[in-house]
Every structure is written in C-alpha cells, then in structure tokens.
C-alpha cells in the first residue's frame, strides 16, 4: 500500500518535472511548436481537474462543463475587445487589457453561471442531471452563437490583453507557458487541500451515499452547489487562459462535445485523483493531435482504447498507480 502511494507520488513528480522542463528542452531541440501545444494541454488540464472535483469526487456527471470554460473565455475576449474599441460592455462596464482584472472577472462570471445552473440542476440526479446540465450548456452556447455584437458563430478576434501586471509579456511563448504552469500547480495544490478537508469529505460522502449523508444531518444540496460553483470558477479561469492564448474565441469552445472531451480526459486519467485528469488531458490531446497522422479514422481507434481503459482500469491511467479502493472500483 505504501509502495503504491510512493509510486504515484514519484510518477506525479516526474510528470511535473517533465512539464517544467518542456519549454527548455523544446527550445534547445528547436521544436518550439511544442510549447504552445503543451500550454494548450495544460489549460485543458486545469478545466479537467475542475471537472474532476464534481465528477470524480462529487459523483455529479455534468455534461455542461464547457459552458463555464466558454463563459470565462468570452469574459476575457469581451473585456479586451471593449478596451481596444474604447467602448463599454452593456454601455457601462469598461473593458480592460489587464489579465489580473480580466481573469478574476472570468472566474466570477463562470462561478455565477455555475451557481445558477447548479441551483436548478442539482435538484435532480442521475440521467436527469446529465440532461439538464447539457441543456443549460446548449442554451449558453446558442446565446453566443446568436450574439452578433461578439461575432456570433464566426467568433471574436481581439488584440492585446497579453501583458500581465504591466510587465509580464504573455506574448512570449515560454513566459506564458510558465504562467499557465504556475496556475496549474496552484489549482492542484488548492484542489489537494480541498479534497482532504472537511468539505472534501462531504463531497465524497455525497458521491458514495447521499441518502446517508442527509440522514447524518448534512444539507447535501448546499455543499454540492458550492462544489459545483467552485468547479465552474476554475473552469472559467481555464477559459480565460485559453482566450488569452488564442486571441480569438468562438462558441465552439463551449460546444457540448467539448464537455464530452473533458469527461473523457477525467475518466481516461482517473476519476477522483486530481492528477489523473492532468494525465488524461495530456494523453487525450496528444492522441487527438497525432493519431490523425496515422489514420483518418483515428476516432475508430480511439473509441476502443477508451472502452478498454474504462473496463480494465476503472480509475484510469493514474488509478493503476494508486492503491485499489474498495467500492470505488479498483483496477483490473
């Protein structure tokens, strides 16, 4: 048991070290292309980790998580857009180029959106919950598809908003990579504290046996809503980073298939492990990137791989490294 704990710890350290060294190695090797590629992966990893909090720990199968990612991205895009046009959002909210304002604003808006969606969705459970979160996310998606002021279907391209705190140049690939990496580490650390805290215990208890939780005296709805809101905020932060990286945003970021991708990353890497979704994001996005080079029909290959993982490693790639957990489904 101790050895497998150590094994997972070593694996995590190696992975994080590799990610920390990646820009240096890529630069030396003349493969700078990988820096942007992996930065994108890390951004989606942050979103996947936030989903793991509610999906893996809380047992809430939300098929609408991309809505929070998208909302965060649009907040940044809209603020920068108004700053460069020197206009105001809804006629009274001024834009900004400063990520230190835009990113927290994105988190706030995504948190508020998650709060309201959660308020309704968390009244249901099981399949209904999946369908309701999906329906809400599609509603948000269509709002942006039809919002002509911000490009509608075509999306919104913007310039600026890539100087952090007035002096950190996010236009520099390496610098921005390390900023994203730092955010990832922060999210992992805070996530780790949270899942081990009393609050985390309650969330896991709700996944295991919500009826029993209520009988014990927990008003479970409140705790689940809080977790859902927090996860939305972090997904919003990932969206903000994404918008800053791309200088372009379109509704496709919050298409429901994107929510599906995030779920796959979590399952692939290992639900309820925090680090698993990071692994899942890396594996998923690399496969998505490179499998098409081998075959056009890469999804035909990808599907069975996923099924095999779900069947034989129910806690995902990362779960292989962890001690088996009864009830939570061990490996093999």
């Amino acid at each position: 048991m101790i050895s497998s704990l150590d094994r997972s710890r070593i694996f995590v350290l190696l992975l994080l070290a590799a990610l920390a060294l990646l820009p240096i190695v890529a630069t030396i090797g003349g493969e700078e292309f990988y820096i942007g590629q992996f930065r994108r992966i890390l951004i989606f990893a942050i979103a996947a980790i936030s989903l793991d909090l509610i999906l893996g720990y809380g047992g809430m199968v939300s098929l609408g998580h991309a809505a929070f990612l998208g909302a965060g991205a649009y907040v940044v895009a809209i603020l920068v857009h108004h700053a460069s046009e020197e206009t105001r959002f809804l006629g009274f909210i001024p834009g900004t180029f400063e990520p230190l304002i835009a990113w927290p604003a994105a988190m706030l808006v995504s948190a508020a959106l998650a709060f309201f969606i959660g308020l309704v969705s968390l009244r249901t459970s099981g399949v209904y919950f999946i369908m309701i979160t999906l329906a809400f996310a599609q509603m948000v998606y269509y709002v942006f598809v039809s919002w002509r002021a911000y490009g509608g279907d075509d999306g919104l391209r913007f310039r600026g908003g890539d100087t952090l705190a007035g002096f950190i140049d996010l236009g520099n690939d390496v610098v921005f990579y390390y900023v994203v990496f730092a955010v990832l580490l922060g999210v992992l650390y805070l996530g780790q504290r949270l899942v081990k805290s009393r609050f985390g215990r309650v969330i896991e208890g709700c996944r295991e046996n919500e009826r029993r939780m209520r009988a014990l005296g927990f008003p479970t709805y409140r705790y689940k809503l809080t977790a859902f809101t927090l996860a939305g905020a972090v997904a919003g932060l990932a969206g903000a980073l994404f918008a800053t990286q791309e200088s372009y945003i379109s509704p496709s970021i919050m298409h429901w298939t994107r929510s599906g991708d995030l779920i796959i990353m979590v399952i692939l890497g290992g639900m309820g492990t925090l680090y698993g979704p990071l692994v899942g994001a890396v594996v998923f996005m690399l496969m998505e990137k490179f499998l098409p080079d081998y075959t056009q029909h890469w999804q035909i290959v990808f599907g069975p791989i996923l099924v095999l993982i779900v069947l034989f490693a129910r806690r995902g790639v990362f779960g292989w490294l962890l001690p088996a957990r009864p009830g939570g489904g061990g490996h093999g």
Binding site: L194, R198, G327
Partner: protein
C-alpha cells in the same frame, strides 16, 4: 433553550398516514415515545415499520398527520434538519460509505454535528476533533481493531455495528433503529442485544425488531403494527396477554 417538561414525550406522532398507490402503509398511526425508554415497534413483514421510520426521520413525507420532536413540530422539516435536532436513524439495509474506512465513516458522522463543513483547508483525516472521538466510538461498538478497514470489506455483522456507531456519533437525543440485528449471526446478535441494553441507560430508542426474545427483554413499551395500524400499545406484560395481538400477530398456533 428551556428543557421541555419531563413528562412530555420526546417524540410524538399523531394521525400519520402514508399511502403508496392503493396500499396504506401507515394508517392513522399515533405513537408517543417517552424520554429514556426503549419503545419497540413490532409487526409482520410489510406491516409498515420501515415506512414509519422513514416518516419519522423525514425521508418520506406523510400524507397526513403531525410529528413533534423535543417539543417542536418537525412535520415539515427535511431529513438533515431533524438529524441536526437529534433524531438519528439506522437503516434496515446497511447504508454506510463503502469506500471509506470504518474510522472515516464514523468521523464523517461526527463532522455532521460539529458545526458546518464549509471548511476547505485543514486535513480532516488528521483532525483530532474528529479522529479521536471516532476511535472511541468504534471501541464502544467493538470495532476498535477494524478502524482502518474499508467498510465494504467488513463482515456483515461488523457493518451493522458500524451502522449503529454512525447513528450514535451524531450525538442524538433519540435513535430510530430499524432491525439493527438484521442478518446477524447468533453470537453477534447476542452482543448487539447486550450493547443496546447499555445504550438504554443514556438513549431514547425506537426499536424495530423481529426477534421477540430481544424485544421482550429490552423494551419498556411495545407498539404492535399490522397493515399500518397500531392494534395495540403497552408494556411487554400487557402485550403478551393482549388477545388481539395474540390473534393477529404472535399467533395462537404457538400453544402447541
């Protein structure tokens, strides 16, 4: 808050009705449990005993009737609210957190009644305010040596003990125990009976149990339920000689 009158029942249900489609599972049932007593509810399978517990604990809404607990009307309160006021239940079908260790199960039950759980920073598994009393509670029910074992891996009888330990850990004013000995082996059942006897000194208990020896040994009062109706209520001695009960439930065929 002033203590309620000593004479007042701790729990009082009046005119409870619960229908499931055509079935009347609880049929105009009234019941009072005095502080400090063990009040047994007996009745054949399907009599509505579990349904009654579900109504009292708040899991099921009654179609009619009122429930008062500790001097307050709790009829419309949700489950967690009743639990917070000191009404704890155990489940006929074991309901624990299977992936958690025995210790974590009890610690979570303790946490439920230790202020709120919007605490995001400190490691709950190292919180002495939870872990130490949880250990003591496990010792008390005889699971001390099994603290670190996942609930799913405990033997059935041990899970039943854990079930009780969790209910106790909420620091209840009253326990609703739904067949605590269901599916237990003989030795385990004997131990559980002894344990319930020690609980009797400190707790008020509504006990549902099929084993008549246990019921008559432990109960101060017995209510007999048949088809959702209380056909009799009284001391064990009164119930033993009650003609209606003998006919309807204890079975006159026993005289052979």
């Amino acid at each position: 808050m002033a203590e309620p009158l000593v004479e007042a029942p701790l729990l009082e249900a009046r005119g409870l009705i619960k229908r499931f489609g055509g079935i009347v599972a609880t049929d105009n049932l009234s019941l009072a449990v005095e502080p400090g007593e063990i009040h047994a509810v007996i009745g054949p399978n399907g009599a509505g005993k579990t349904t009654l517990i579900a109504q009292l604990s708040g899991e099921l809404r009654s179609d009619a009737g009122t429930i008062r607990f500790a001097g307050e009307d709790v009829t419309d309160l949700p489950v967690y609210d009743r639990s917070r006021r000191g009404l704890a239940r155990s489940f006929q079908i074991t309901s624990v957190f299977r992936a958690f260790t025995a210790l974590e199960n009890v610690a979570l039950a303790l946490q439920a009644h230790d202020s709120h759980s919007f605490r995001f920073w400190k490691d709950a598994s190292r919180d002495p305010a939870l872990v130490e009393p949880a250990r003591r509670m496990l010792e008390q029910v005889g699971l001390g040596a099994r603290a670190e074992i996942a609930a799913a891996e405990l033997a059935h009888g041990e899970q039943r003990q854990l079930e009780i330990a969790m209910a106790l850990a909420t620091g209840p004013r009253m326990l609703l125990l739904d067949e605590p000995m269901a599916g237990m082996g003989r030795d385990e059942a004997v131990r559980m009976t002894a344990f319930l006897r020690t609980l009797k000194q400190s707790e008020t208990i509504l006990l549902i149990e099929h084993d008549m020896d246990v019921v008559f040994a432990l109960a101060d009062r017995i209510t007999v339920l048949v088809y959702g109706r209380a056909i009799a209520s009284g001391t064990p001695a009164e119930i033993r000689v009650n003609q209606e009960v003998r006919q309807a439930y204890l079975g006159e065929d026993e005289h052979a």
